[in-house]
Symmetry: C2
Subunit: 168 residues, 2 copies
């Protein structure tokens, strides 16, 4: 019975940090609203970190896999598109929690870049997050999920409890 008790003592001592991995999906917005409705009880002791992971930047060889040449225009258009996506996702996330009629929450934004599953796990570890909340199907607009489920990986490897939220 020692574990649960020491856990509680630790919980009371410090601020709880909850990382919510958001992407372009409705499901991740639902995960965020689940988090606000279910995990946030006391505003002074909770911080929500919205984490969005961009796909890795395009490799600046001018050739793609099929040998086509990417012009600089295409590359800069792609970069702009990704940046617009980040703003759009973060704005939707903020609208989601502002719509919920709850206590004020301290919210921080983090934008990572790279393989979503690795970036999410490493941010969780770096921040010493208490809980990770994410949708089950992400990650993202490009259906990066097809390359292997991000939530599966995080449920196994993230160094904190993981909440997997499915769209109802």
């Amino acid at each position: 019975m020692t574990q649960p008790l020491s856990y509680t003592a630790e919980m009371e001592r410090k601020e709880r940090k909850i990382v919510v991995a958001v992407d372009e999906s409705e499901e991740s917005m639902y995960a965020l609203s689940w988090c606000i409705s279910n995990l946030i009880a006391d505003a002074t002791k909770n911080k929500v970190v919205l984490l969005y992971v961009k796909p890795p930047p395009p490799i600046y060889s001018s050739f793609d896999a099929a040998g086509y040449i990417f012009s600089r225009d295409v590359i800069s258009a792609m970069t702009k598109y990704t940046n617009d996506l980040v703003s759009s996702v973060m704005e939707r996330a903020e609208a989601t929690y502002k719509n919920l009629d709850t206590i004020d929450v301290s919210v921080e934004r983090i934008v990572g870049s790279g393989d979503a599953k690795d970036v999410i796990c490493s941010v969780v570890e770096k921040l010493k997050a208490d809980t990770l909340v994410m949708g089950s199907h992400g990650y993202g607009f490009f259906k990066r999920a097809l390359l292997g489920s991000v939530s599966d990986h995080c449920a196994k490897h993230a160094k904190c409890p993981v909440v997997i939220v499915k769209h109802p």
Copy 2:
């Protein structure tokens, strides 16, 4: 933005029902204490269901796979052992949440029997549970996890958000 709002309205209307799958592992007791510390904010609106799934009852052919004969004594000893296990797990679970210095919680016990992953998902669906909480490595003393991860399956198939808690 319609989803989060309708979700909240629903949350306020009814009691929240949280199923915690418990087994013989320390991890599942930790999952229960996580649940009490993190998900239980308002005692009047929360019910925790402790769910323990027994392995399926032995098949009462008198032969096992290797052709050995099980005497009635062995079978009844095995049945008694399983029943003792149920009491022991439930008692540990109750000690765990009573040790936590939190508000009173309404707690119900359910004991199922069969393949843990199927029983857990079907109880969640039957009860229309709002959240399922479980350890990542269970299920149980006999390392039933080796036959395929129960938490993996539930994260994918349970009809509610699933919290996967790892032992720290």
